[in-house]
């Protein structure tokens, strides 16, 4: 597939690959795409954008094109943070550069796929997203392995910069092979009245994911909302969470995590830091153990001054029998009732999911409930 140019016609992809892309939230039909970026191993095989004022480029091309990009590159994340950042700094890498120019808004999300196509491949990725003043950008990123690839390593650096009054809605979907190790490192900087909305979704098999994005609300009135939906099947180890640092007055933060295990391990972390007065934050960690598994919820609140309002709510347990019986009294059998409750648990309050992804989420939940009963 290496001969694919950046204008490669996606509709001619093998059906199996299309299906996997769809499951990771990537639309194939041209009319449903505003901008698309597909990277296979380290090679960008497709990169296009239709809308005026939006830019999608392979990161290396962008670094050559714009000298000023060095003011953003490795500025949010320190390259010597850990062995994974070092690996990406030292080794070969690729990734995307996506920018919305001042005042530009996209309705149809820009979609990016980071695909491991060769068994055992180590994919190093470095992404930069810039939302200029007053712009609104919607991105969906699918991280995935090609059909039949069960092994691989993904180290992904992501640095997002949201300027004054800008808004970034970022949905990340993982869809990996059974033995893939994933180490994303993400830093987000939000200026005055900017907004960062993140949906982080992993529903299927994977060996290990460790991710803890750090969001810094630097400008007055900035807002961040981190929402994760995690399902850990048997054999998966998910250590996923995030922190929001409220560093300016009147900033607000919300971290919501819904984790379900069907046999795997989940460490669900959340950290809210109030550095200055007049900030507000809420953290919600909810875990559901169906039959067996392990969940460790670690909610942290840090206040460095008075007049901060930080709260958290954590609950881990099984489905309430009372809820199942309530639905059974309406004529649903136990399997249907469980599936309805699990879907509600995982999907509560989630915003802006594309249809194919929503469908996938529903399917996974239904299958999970079936497997359990």
């Amino acid at each position: 597939m290496s001969e694919r140019g950046t204008e490669y016609d996606l509709t001619s992809l093998p059906e199996e690959e299309k299906k996997i892309l769809a499951e990771a939230g990537i639309e194939i039909a041209p009319e449903k795409r505003e901008g698309t970026f597909i990277q296979q191993n380290l090679e960008v095989v497709h990169c296009e954008v239709k809308q005026e004022g939006l830019e999608v480029l392979p990161i290396k091309e962008a670094l050559q094109k714009y000298d000023w990009l060095n003011d953003y590159f490795w500025q949010g994340i320190s390259p010597d943070k850990d062995e994974y950042t070092m690996a990406v700094k030292e080794g070969p890498f690729n990734g995307y550069f996506i920018r919305a120019l001042s005042g530009v808004k996209n309705i149809i999300p820009i979609q990016a796929a980071l695909l491991i196509a060769t068994p055992g491949f180590q994919q190093n990725v470095h992404n930069i997203v810039i939302v200029e003043e007053g712009a609104e950008l919607h991105i969906i990123t699918g991280c995935l392995t090609a059909p039949h690839v069960t092994q691989g390593v993904h180290f992904g650096m992501s640095e997002f910069y949201i300027k004054k009054g800008g808004k970034l809605t970022y949905t990340m979907v993982h869809r990996w092979g059974r033995d893939v190790v994933v180490r994303p490192r993400t830093a987000v900087n939000v200026e005055e009245k900017g907004q960062f909305i993140s949906n982080y979704i992993t529903l299927g098999e994977v060996k290990s994911v460790q991710s803890f994005p750090s969001v810094r609300l630097e400008g007055e009135g900035a807002v961040a909302r981190l929402h994760s939906v995690l399902v850990a099947p048997s054999g998966a180890h998910l250590d996923i969470g995030g922190e929001v640092i409220c560093a300016a007055p009147r900033t607000r933060a919300e971290i919501i995590s819904r984790a379900m295990t069907t046999g795997g391990e989940v460490i669900s972390r959340g950290r809210l830091v109030g550095e200055v007065k007049e900030v507000k934050g809420h953290l919600e960690c909810k875990g559901l153990i169906l039959k067996k598994g392990f969940i460790h919820a670690i909610p942290e609140l840090v206040a460095k001054t008075d007049e901060v309002e930080l709260s958290h709510e954590a609950a881990v347990g099984k489905i309430a029998q009372e809820e199942i019986e309530y639905l059974m009294a309406r004529g649903l059998d136990e399997e249907e009732a469980t599936s309805v409750i699990v879907r509600g648990f995982l999907e509560a309050d989630i915003e802006g999911l594309p249809v194919a992804l929503q469908k996938k989420l529903d399917e996974v939940i239904e299958q999970t409930s079936k497997d359990l009963l």
Partner: protein
């Protein structure tokens, strides 16, 4: 429609209902009185089939079939519906979606039903999340209207409902029971009349207020897990209002002919 034969029920090994005999005919509405803790809710839960309520003796016959060992959802599918007094909150499930599930594929205009019940603004709220007592009742009735059961079990439908809404609750119950003619009485055919009388109901109440809005055909009193007397529901209510439960049990038990 429903017959309870010599039914004895335990929760965690403790008797809550003893030797209950009861019959509700097709099209009949029975009101069951009893003080708090007398076993009224346990009776409804047993009829619905919740596993916590263990039938240790006797049988439940519904539509001529022994359903004593049937699971809850089978009973619901056969046509038993229940309005709970304190239903659980289900996070992430919108009331609209639950009502849709209750229709089981029947073509029912949920918007219109919600409008009738003054519930439109709450349809997209999570099931029972932060609802007031009266709103919970309306949510329960909305689900029953979508479910269209042939036997309706109503657990204290008037409790926690303000005066303004109790008439609405009453009207809705009558609709669920098919007791509000959609056409003027004179224009109904015999067939339609028959159809409307098909639904049966069992209402439990300890205040009896609901009787003012939904006239029941028969009344019974449940006291300390035992079915005591039966008769005209309005007379029973009057006795209870005047003398309280203890007194009327003693008195009415003396007049066995009322059963």
């Amino acid at each position: 429609m429903l017959r309870l034969e010599d039914l004895t029920v335990e929760i965690n090994g403790k008797h809550v209902l003893t030797n209950i005999n009861l019959e509700i005919k097709k099209g009949e509405l029975l009101v069951l009185f009893g003080p708090n803790g007398s076993g009224k809710t346990s009776l409804l839960m047993t009829i619905m089939g919740f596993p916590r309520y263990k039938v240790v003796k006797g049988r439940i016959i519904f539509k001529g079939k022994d359903i004593t060992n049937l699971p809850v959802y089978e009973r619901a599918k056969m046509g038993i519906g229940i309005s709970f007094q304190r239903p659980p909150t289900i996070t992430g499930l919108k009331t609209r979606d639950l009502v849709k599930l209750c229709t089981h594929g029947r073509d029912i205009d949920i918007e219109a039903l919600a409008k009738e019940l003054n519930f439109t603004h709450l349809l997209d709220r999570d099931v029972n999340d932060g609802l007031s007592g009266g709103e919970i009742k309306r949510s329960e009735l909305l689900q029953l209207m979508a479910q269209q059961p042939d036997l309706v079990l109503l657990d204290e439908p008037e409790s926690g409902v303000d005066l303004e809404n109790i008439a609405l609750i009453g009207e809705t119950i009558k609709k669920i029971l098919g007791r509000t003619p959609t056409k003027a009485l004179a224009y109904r055919s015999l067939k339609e009349e028959k159809l409307e009388k098909k639904k049966s109901g069992l209402i439990i109440t300890h205040t009896g207020h609901i009787l003012r809005y939904v006239p029941a055909d028969k009344g019974r009193i449940l006291y300390k897990g035992k079915m005591c007397v039966g008769g005209n529901p309005f007379e029973i209510l009057e006795q209870i209002s005047k003398y309280g439960y203890q007194e009327c049990i003693r008195c009415l038990n003396g007049e066995q002919n009322m059963i």
